[in-house]
């Protein structure tokens, strides 16, 4: 009931924002080069729905692939680094160096290596997501009370059991903080990846509209990206609430 009401409030908020947008453009005579009417933008999307839908799906696929790989590798890294501190000391500096490379420079290399494939975009999304997940997983795992670990061990639990039963669940709130961040970052990665030569995707639509100064198409692509980003974030946040029911931040 509470949730339904919150959802309803969200919808009303969106509708109000839409009305405000439409009304402000009309009332203040804002020129379409700056901000077109929302109805004009929606009409443009309705005129070529296939292009936007294909772009949406394509970018979604890249985002999900990069997110899944980044999340998985990040958690795996965290566990490995917890077990092998020596490896952590060796690899961590390299990870940090990798993260200081501007993604734009990295993108040009990825195209050379993977060509114009969906994989190339997923790799960029992965590149942006695995590091925050690694750091947060390690942080969460390290924060586990050593006395709890000692207790489980005294009951005869092996390292695998301790990891599954205690350390990973205890680190979950931290991991989900990173996953929420990764949800947005993977979308950014996918869109940036599409700027390195592709025909389908929200990033392609953005780029095309930007350089043709086609403001209506630009806004249409922005709206699609916003829907994708918000939707994905909401799904991750929902999963967090369900899985980490005991200690989620929201």
């Amino acid at each position: 009931m509470m949730q339904l009401r919150a959802l309803l409030r969200g919808v009303v908020g969106l509708l109000l924002a839409a009305l405000l947008w439409e009304g402000a453009v009309l009332a203040l005579h804002i020129r379409p080069e700056y901000l077109p009417r929302l109805s004009t933008i929606l009409a443009a999307m309705a005129a070529t729905p296939g292009a936007y839908w294909d772009g949406f799906l394509r970018t979604l696929a890249e985002t999900l692939l990069g997110f899944a790989a980044g999340g998985f590798v990040g958690v795996l890294n965290g566990v490995i680094f917890l077990r092998l501190p020596a490896l952590r000391d060796m690899l961590f500096p390299i990870f940090i160096v990798s993260q200081t490379i501007p993604v734009i420079a990295f993108g040009a290399l990825v195209v050379l290596w993977f060509g114009n494939t969906l994989l190339a975009k997923a790799v960029i999304a992965f590149y942006l997501t695995f590091f925050p997940v690694t750091v947060n997983t390690l942080l969460g795992l390290n924060a586990v009370d050593p006395r709890q670990v000692a207790l489980l061990r005294s009951f005869g639990a092996g390292p695998g059991t301790i990891l599954r039963r205690l350390q990973l669940p205890a680190a979950l709130p931290q991991i989900f903080v990173a996953l929420r961040l990764a949800a947005s970052l993977s979308l950014v990665g996918a869109i940036v990846g599409e700027w390195f030569g592709d025909t389908i995707g929200l990033g392609v639509l953005l780029l095309q509209a930007m350089y043709n100064e086609n403001v209506v198409s630009l806004w249409a692509a922005i709206l699609c990206a916003a829907v994708l980003g918000t939707g994905f974030y909401a799904v991750v946040a929902y999963a967090e609430r369900r899985i980490v029911f005991w200690g989620a931040e929201q």
Partner: protein, 334 residues
């Protein structure tokens, strides 16, 4: 291990478009930008209904470009077979750096951009650029502008030249006095928002400077080992372009089939202007993609004078006309 093979399998499945006929040679063309009428002829030649590349035995993939891609690098590394690269300037730069690419055809025979001012503004001649705010792309257009202004006796410091960003809105809003515009893209925005009669243009060729652009490039090794592939690619591209220019509606339809969110009116404008650029100068007589050695040399000497390229480049090697020469004149003409 399992994960890796899974990922690899997924990647391979996505990377390879279904089936390829065994007899065709696989090749790719890297464009300098996203699909738009600027490349209509290539897309038309590839279109299923036409299949001109397939008829030449080529299974061609057209890869679009982007703002951060250097076509020369992609062709030099073999990531792409052919490239429609920046222009004579970027070919010089690549050869200057020792990249193993050569130019086998030039699409735009003359400078495709010009400098635009307000028709009712204070700028009537180049000398009036003194003390004004100018913007140009710092990827070559800036040198053209400096070269033109030098002829009017102006040097750096006499005016305020800034790198131009994506949008021409600052010029429309009156924040700058001079803006650089390609004849087929930015100029469309300017004309549709300000009106043609409100604009004055300064063309490089009027001041003895010329910058042929949109160069077709290929790796040196492929040019040497597979000359038939290069010739076949050129022949098919010419066929596509001939039809796109003769039937602009077909050309625009083909492009908009690939990128439906484009503005049709803009694309029609673009194709008309691209046609003019491709048939200017000697191309009218010698045919599409003609390599005008005099124009190339003029651009080369100009950039050398401005020390954009450090040493003279062997133009005969960098611009190889033998592939064009091998195609009958009737097949080259638009």
């Amino acid at each position: 291990m399992q994960r890796r093979s899974l990922l690899a399998g997924f990647g391979a499945a996505l990377a390879s478009p279904a089936l390829h006929a065994q007899t065709l040679t696989r090749a790719s063309l890297r464009l300098k930008w996203l699909p738009q009428a600027q490349f209509a002829g290539f897309y038309l030649a590839k279109a299923k209904a036409k299949g001109y590349y397939a008829a030449e035995g080529i299974d061609l993939t057209i890869n679009p470009g982007g703002p951060n891609l250097l076509t020369e690098n992609l062709v030099a590394t073999g990531a792409d077979t052919f490239g429609l690269s920046g222009g004579t300037d970027s070919v010089f730069a690549a050869r200057d750096k020792g990249l193993p690419i050569i130019c086998v055809g030039v699409a735009h025979q003359v400078t495709p951009f010009f400098f635009v001012t307000r028709a009712d503004g204070p700028i009537k001649t180049l000398a009036d650029f003194r003390g004004k705010n100018l913007t140009a792309w710092f990827t070559g257009a800036n040198y053209v502008l400096l070269g033109m202004l030098a002829q009017a006796g102006l040097r750096a410091g006499d005016f305020n030249l800034q790198p131009q960003q994506v949008s021409v809105t600052p010029f429309i809003e009156g924040q700058t006095d001079v803006v650089t515009a390609t004849k087929y893209n930015e100029f469309y925005t300017l004309v549709s928002r300000m009106g043609r009669d409100k604009l004055r243009t300064f063309v490089a060729e009027d001041y003895g400077i010329t910058f042929p652009r949109d160069t077709l490039i290929v790796g040196e090794a492929i040019a040497k080992e597979k000359p038939e592939l290069v010739k076949g690619f050129l022949r098919a591209s010419m066929k596509g372009w001939r039809e796109a220019l003769a039937e602009p509606k077909l050309g625009v339809d083909t492009v908009m089939g690939i990128a439906p969110t484009l503005n049709r009116e803009h694309q029609e404008f673009m194709l008309t202007e691209i046609g003019k650029l491709m048939l200017a100068g000697k191309a009218a007589r010698e045919g599409l993609f003609w390599i005008d050695q005099d124009a190339i040399k003029s651009a080369h000497d100009f950039l050398l004078r401005y020390e954009v390229i450090k040493q003279p480049i062997n133009l005969a090697t960098a611009y190889d006309r033998s592939f064009l020469d091998a195609i009958a004149l009737a097949d080259r003409r638009a």
